[in-house]
Amino acid sequence: METKAFQKIYTKLTQVTKATCSLKATGIGYEEMAIVHGRLAQVVKIIGDNVTLQIFSGTEGIPTNAEVVFLGRPPVLKVGEELSGRFFDAYGDPIDGRPAIEGEERQIGGPSVNPVRRKQPSEFIPTGIAGIDLNNALVTGQKIPFFADPDQPYNQVMANVALRAEADKIILGGMGLTNDDYLYYKNVFENAGALDRIISFVNTTENPPVERILVPDMALTAAEYFAVDKHQKVLVLLTDMTLYADALSIVSNRMDQIPSKDSMPGSLYSDLAKIYEKAVQFPDGGSITIIAVTTLSGGDITHAIPDNTGYITEGQLFLRKDTDIGKVIVDPFRSLSRLKQLVIGEKTRSDHPQVMNAAIRLYADAANAKTKQENGFDLTDYDERSLKFAKEYSNKLLAIDVNIEVDQMLDTTWGLFNEHFEPAEVGIKKEFVDQYWPKED
C-alpha cells in the first residue's frame, strides 16, 4: 500500500465505533481512501473539519493515536492486459504470490454508461443446459442471478455456464466464498485450460466481511476495461450477492442509519442496481454479462435481498431438486430470462417461443394433476399423460446435467408432445404443428 513522503500524518482519533473512526482533518475529498493503523479506510462523512472514515477490516484494536494517512484519491484498480489469469483480493492486491501488475489506475465504482450509447442485447449465449437455453435463454449484456438455497450446486452450474459461454474474459467476484469453493473454481478453470481468460477478485470467509463491499466494483472495473477499451465479451460471475448485501447492512447498522425492511439499508435497491446495471452491450461488440448468485434463506424470495434483486435483474434462475427423477433441475415456473425474447425465434428456430410456452403449460398441468393425486383424487387420462410427459421433460430437458444444442432441445420437446398429446391439447400455431409435429409413418 502506497504512502507518499509529503503526506500529512494525523495521529489523533476523536471517535472510534465498530465500523468507523473520526478525526479532525481539512482538505479531504468525499469517498477518499485513507490508511488507518495500516488498514484501508474510506471517507463516508465530512462535517466541517470532522471526518468520518469507514475501516474495511473493522476497528478492533485501533488506538486513539493511530496513524492516519489520506491517499488523496478514491479506491482504484490498476488495469491492463496483465490482469488476465490473476487472482486478487478485495483491494485489487495479488493473492497468487505474483507481483502487483503495472497498469493504468482507474477509479472503481465509476460513472454509468449513457443509455443512448448502449445497444440492445441480441447475442444468444448457448450453455447447453436446456433449462436455460430452451426456457430461459441468456443474452450478452444481460444480468441474471441464480436464486438458490445454500445447499444447491449453483457454483458448479455457474462454472459450467461460464466455460461454455465462449466469453473472451471471465471475471470472478467472490464474496464470502468458502476456501473450498474458491479452490473449486480455480481447479475447474485450470482443468479447462481457461486460466488465461480468467480474472478473480476474491474475498473468502477468512477475510473481514466488510471488505466484500469492494469486490463487485473491482470486478466490474476490470470488466469495463476489457469491454470498453478492448471490445471484448466479458462475463462477470458474482457469488454470493447475499453476503455482499449483508456486509452493506453491517456497515449501515453500525453507522446508525434507519434500517428498512429486513434490517437492510434503505438504499439497497440503488446499491444493487449500480452493480447490476454495469451489464451492457456496446455497439462495437464489447459486452458485460453478469451472472450472480443470491442465496435464499429457506427459499424465501420476499426477503429484501432477493426481492430487490428481482426488481433489478433481467430475470432469475431457480434450481430445484426434482425428487421424481432424483436430479437438480432448472425450475421452469419460477425461472425467467427477461431478455430471451430478443433471441429466441430470432437467433434460434422460429418455433422456439411457442414450443417453450406449450411445454411449460403442459408441465403446469402435470403439477396440478400431481396435487390432485396427492389429495387422493382419481386422475383423468389427460392427467396421467401429462404426468408421464412431465417426468420425461424433467429428465431429458430440465435437468442441469443436460448438454445439447438448441435444435435438439426443440426436437426432443416435439417428440414428447407427440408421444403424450394431441396437437389441439398442445395449442401451438398451426404452421409450426404442420412443420414440426413428428409424422407417423
Partner: protein, 590 residues
C-alpha cells in the same frame, strides 16, 4: 419567481453521500437550484431544507472528491425545464439533459446539455393577430414538430391578460428569434420567442376547466379496454411483484394507445428497457397515423444506475412536458416506470436528513406527494375551448410483492384504475397477468362513460361486461370446489361452468404482447370476440362425462386463439370461425 438581484453564494460545510450542507451568504429559497464547484466541475443540486444560514442541498450527481469549502452558486430559480419545439423524439435524462448530445460512452458529472436546438429553423405559422387578448398558454402561432401541430404560446409564467401587438409572418425561425410582441396590462411591451421555462414541481394551470373524464382511451389491451377501461385524462396504476409484466404492459400501452403523444419516464428501472424503446420505436408504425412511433414519443431516462436524486425530478420533468403539450390541445399519455423508485429516492434522502420516518421508513408526507402528483393529470378545456388531456399510468413495485405497503396504498388513494398483476397468473404465463377480478376501473361506473360505451360500442355493453365478470367469478368459485371435491365429486355442470370462465380467460384476458397481430385489438374486434364467448356461455352442450368438458373446451379455445393470431376478418380468421361453428354443432343442445 423573480430573481433576486444579487446571486447568493455559499460554501460546502459538510457532506454525507449526496446530501451536502452549504453555508450561504444571502437569501435562498426552498427547492432553489445551485451549482457546487468541484474544481471546475459544476454539480447541480437542489435546496431541500433551510436551517439558519445552512442550506441542505441534494446533489443530483456523485459527490466523490467534494471537499469542505468548495464554493456554491445559487441560481434564484427552482428546477426548470425548457419548453419549445424539438422535445418530441428526444431522449432526456431526469433533468432534461439531451442524452444524445453528451460525449463519450459514460455519463460525465457536471455535463449539462441543451434540451433543444438553438439554430434549427422551424416553419412558423401565426395563429394570433394584433389586437387579440390572450392569457398564459394562449396560442400565438404554430410549427410542425415531426407531424404534430406544436403551438407557440404566451409563457405560462405570465399573469393577467396580454394584448398581441404583433406576430411575425409565416416563415422559418429559430426558437430564439422573436416571433411576437405582446403588451401587458400596464402597457409594457414584451418580446416573445418560441421557448420558455417552467419549474417542474409546479403544475401548469393554463386551462379553463378540468371536468370529470367522460371518454374512453383505447389501449388495444383487451383486459383493460373490455373489462377495466381507462378514461382519457384518467389515472391508473399497475402494481405487481417483479417479473409479472409491468414494463411489458406499459410498453404495449406506449405502442398502441390512441394518444397523440407518449411520454415515457423510465424512473429508476433498467437501462436495457429504455434501449428496447430506442431500438424498436423508430422502426414501428403508429397504426393510427402511419408515422413511426418514435415521432410521437419522448423518453425521460433516469435509470436505476443514474443519480438517485434526479429520479424524483424525472417524473416531474415528464409531467411538466405532458402539461406543455396538453396546453396545445393534444392527447398525452404519460407513463412512469416505476413510481416506487421515486418514493425510494425520497426515502433515502429523508433518512439521510434524519427526519422522523413513517411506515417502512418512507417520509411521512408520501401519500400527499403521490396524490399531488397524480392530480396533475386530467382532461382539460383550454381557455380557447379546445381540449387537451394527460392520461397517467404509473407502475408500482411493492416490496416483497405485498400490496399492503405505503407506496401501493398511497397510490391506490390517488389513482382511479387499479391493474393488479398477479404472481399466479404470471407464473402460469397467463399474460397480461392483470387479475380480472381484483382489478378495477372507477371510470367504468361513471354515468358519462356508461353512456359513451352504449353509444360507441354496444347498447348492451355495460351489461355484457358485468356478465363476463360474473362468469369469471363463478368459474373461480367452482374451480375451488372441484379442487376440494375432485373431478368426479361434482356434477358435470360444474365443469361446464368452470370452462366457460376459462374460455373468457384464454380468449379475452390473455393476449400475446409479442405477437404482431394479437398484441393489439381494436374495440370492434374486442366486441366481436366478447360476443363470441358470451354466445358460447349461453349455449347448452351435452357431455357423456366430465372428461369430455375440458377436452372439448380446449379445442374451442385453441381455435379461438388461432383467430386472435389472425388478421381480423381475414380468411384465416373466418376459417377459424367456421371450424368453431361446426365444433359447436357437435355438442350443442340448445
Amino acid at each position: 419567481m423573480e430573481k433576486t438581484n444579487k446571486m447568493t453564494k455559499g460554501y460546502v460545510a459538510g457532506i454525507i453521500a449526496n446530501l451536502v450542507f452549504v453555508e450561504v451568504d444571502g437569501p435562498v429559497q426552498q427547492n432553489e437550484i445551485c451549482y457546487i464547484d468541484l474544481e471546475g466541475t459544476k454539480l447541480m443540486a437542489e435546496v431541500i431544507k433551510i436551517n439558519g444560514t445552512q442550506a441542505y442541498v441534494q446533489v443530483f450527481e456523485s459527490t466523490r472528491g467534494l471537499k469542505v469549502n468548495h464554493t456554491v452558486e445559487f441560481t434564484g430559480h427552482m428546477l426548470e425545464v425548457t419548453l419549445g419545439p424539438g422535445i418530441l423524439s428526444k431522449n432526456y435524462d431526469g433533468l432534461q439533459n439531451d442524452l444524445d448530445k453528451m460525449d463519450g460512452v459514460f455519463l460525465k458529472r457536471g455535463e449539462h446539455t441543451n434540451p433543444l436546438e438553438d439554430d434549427k429553423k422551424w416553419e412558423f405559422k401565426p395563429l394570433a393577430k394584433a389586437g387579440d387578448v390572450l392569457e398564459a398558454g394562449g396560442w400565438l402561432g404554430e410549427v410542425k414538430e415531426n407531424w404534430m401541430p406544436h403551438k407557440i404560446m404566451v409563457p405560462f409564467k405570465f399573469e393577467g391578460k396580454y394584448t398581441v401587438k404583433s406576430v411575425v409572418e409565416a416563415g422559418e425561425y429559430t426558437i430564439l428569434d422573436n416571433i411576437a410582441v405582446v403588451t401587458d396590462e400596464k402597457g409594457k411591451d414584451i418580446d416573445l420567442t418560441m421557448t420558455q421555462k417552467w419549474p417542474v414541481k409546479l403544475a401548469i394551470k393554463a386551462y379553463k376547466e378540468k371536468p370529470r373524464p367522460f371518454k374512453m382511451l383505447e389501449t388495444g389491451v383487451r383486459v383493460i379496454d373490455t373489462l377495466n377501461p381507462i378514461a382519457e385524462g384518467g389515472t391508473g396504476f399497475i402494481p405487481g411483484p417483479f417479473g409479472t409484466g409491468k414494463t411489458v404492459l406499459q410498453h404495449a400501452l406506449a405502442k398502441q394507445a390512441e394518444a397523440d403523444l407518449i411520454i415515457v419516464a423510465a424512473c429508476g428501472e433498467r437501462a436495457n428497457e429504455v434501449v428496447e424503446i430506442f431500438a424498436e420505436f423508430p422502426e414501428l408504425d403508429d397504426p393510427r397515423t402511419g408515422r413511426k412511433l418514435m415521432e410521437r414519443t419522448t423518453i425521460i431516462a433516469n435509470t436505476s444506475n443514474m443519480p438517485v436524486a434526479a429520479r424524483e425530478a424525472s417524473v416531474y420533468t415528464a409531467m411538466t412536458l405532458g402539461e406543455y403539450y396538453r396546453a396545445m390541445g393534444l392527447k398525452v399519455l404519460l407513463l412512469a416506470d416505476s413510481t416506487s423508485r421515486w418514493a425510494q429516492a425520497l426515502r433515502e434522502m429523508s433518512n439521510r436528513m434524519e427526519e422522523l420516518p413513517g411506515q417502512d421508513a418512507f417520509p411521512m408526507d408520501l401519500p400527499a406527494i403521490i396524490s399531488n402528483f397524480y392530480s396533475r393529470a386530467g382532461f382539460t378545456y383550454l381557455n380557447n375551448d379546445a381540449t387537451g388531456s394527460i392520461t397517467f399510468i404509473g407502475t408500482v413495485s411493492p416490496a416483497g410483492g405485498n400490496l399492503k405497503e405505503p407506496v401501493t396504498e398511497s397510490t391506490k388513494k390517488a389513482a382511479r384504475c387499479f391493474y393488479a398483476l398477479s404472481q399466479d397468473r404470471a407464473d402460469s404465463k397467463r399474460y397480461p397477468a392483470i387479475d380480472p377480478l381484483d382489478s378495477y376501473s372507477k371510470y367504468a361506473e361513471y354515468p358519462e362513460l356508461e353512456e359513451y360505451f352504449r353509444a360507441n360500442i354496444d347498447p348492451e355493453w355495460p351489461e355484457k361486461i358485468q356478465l363476463a365478470r360474473d362468469i369469471l367469478i363463478r368459474s373461480r368459485e367452482v374451480a375451488e370446489q372441484i379442487n376440494i371435491l375432485g373431478d368426479d365429486g361434482v356434477p358435470v355442470e360444474y365443469h361446464d361452468r368452470f370452462w366457460k370462465g376459462e374460455i373468457i380467460d384464454f380468449v379475452i384476458l390473455q393476449q400475446d404482447a409479442f405477437d404482431k397481430i394479437d398484441c393489439s385489438a381494436s374495440l370492434e374486434r374486442q366486441k366481436y370476440m366478447l360476443n363470441w364467448v358470451l354466445d358460447i356461455y349461453h349455449t347448452k352442450f351435452s357431455y357423456e362425462s366430465f372428461e369430455d368438458v375440458g377436452s372439448y373446451f380446449k379445442k374451442m379455445i385453441n381455435i379461438m386463439r388461432q383467430m386472435n393470431y389472425a388478421i381480423f376478418e381475414s380468411d384465416d380468421f373466418k376459417g377459424g370461425e367456421k371450424e368453431l361453428n361446426s365444433l359447436i354443432e357437435e355438442r350443442k343442445t340448445a
